[in-house]
Symmetry: C2
């Protein structure tokens, strides 16, 4: 696995294992079994063993995987040993809630700054994070290098915000807005889509009714 | 497509088309082309045409798809013509923000009620939705029939909340909590996982650095 590009599905599973291993580390548990990881992550034991086979030296017959060594290796693959800081664009209802609920339990991510266009919001501090003017975005991003931007702007303002982020060199964006957004090549945009998740649940309810 | 079980990937695309068609309906646009749907949904034109081929009568050479007829058919497949009401478990930071930001643009979903265990929060009204005691959960769910529950409880309280929901007959859950949750067969649980999304973005930054 190390060295070659890993599929999104595998990265997603590794992210789950890492979360579980961090919990174990906090609990002071030195070893975890594939069964434990399987149950905690909702992934079959066989899949866990297959994923982790590449880290052979951390799995021991009988005692399981060595927590800190395995976590370190997974984090090296994910790039999360030293995760990029997170900025929030839009300090409205969702943006504020994200800042207030923080990033504990995510393995080292932290909010660096937030940005808004509303003069009444700029200058406020939310959960220790200052809301800055969008005019300051360029300086913050160019000073930091890699950042992840969470987009939490009102409907209709998404594309403008993305264009702004791209123009200052931000290439990793997680959008909480519903609108589809255009991005140039080289920019990675992911969506947290509550309405799509609701549709998937509604469809599963409908299938249950029919079966 | 109608009649047989559709894959999650297809449901996700149909959900995107539906959102786009609702926008067109609001704009008063009677027809949309596959190119328009492709651009708005970030899905290739070929895939759009393939997905929508089953609704043949709504696609016309040159003019595109008839918005209201196509939307009606997609919503019939999704089961979203009459979507189930949504309840929110946990009226803390994230739960309140979800209630306040509402479900406009989701095609008919609405918040029915919210529930909390904190006596200081119970009785409050957030964006028109009353926060009720968890003791009232059973009555609300049994009166409504199908509901979707959004889980927005503090860390460590997720499993308890899920057990509670399952015991009153709720089988569709969307979790905003990080912790892995056990559910019995027949219950569908989906996660909105901000930390996994951050890991996926971090990995893509890392791959960019290497290439």
């Amino acid at each position: 696995m190390p060295g070659k590009k890993v599929s999104e599905k595998t990265i997603r599973r590794l992210s789950h294992y890492a979360r579980c291993l961090r919990e174990a580390r906090i609990d002071g548990t030195p070893f975890v079994t594939s069964k434990h990881l399987s149950e905690r992550c909702g992934i079959s034991s066989a899949a866990v063993r297959k994923d982790l086979a590449v880290f052979g030296e951390f799995g021991k017959q009988g005692s399981g995987y060595e927590v800190s060594g395995l976590l370190e290796n997974i984090e090296r693959i994910l790039g999360t040993c030293d995760p990029p800081p997170v900025i929030v664009i839009g300090a409205g209802i969702i943006g504020s809630a994200l800042l207030e609920s923080g990033l504990n339990g995510t393995g080292g991510y932290r909010y660096l700054a937030s940005f808004d266009s509303d003069p009444k919001t700029i200058g406020k501090t939310i959960a220790g994070v200052r809301v800055q003017s969008l005019a300051e975005l360029r300086d913050v991003v160019s000073e930091q290098g890699d950042v992840i931007a969470i987009l939490a702007v009102p409907p209709g303002e998404g594309q403008n915000a993305v264009d702004n982020l791209v123009s200052v060199g931000c290439i990793s964006i997680l959008s909480f807005t519903l609108e589809p957004l255009d991005i140039p090549d080289g920019v990675v945009l992911r969506y947290v889509e509550v309405s799509t998740e609701l549709d998937l649940l509604t469809y599963s309810l409908k299938c249950r009714d029919r079966s």
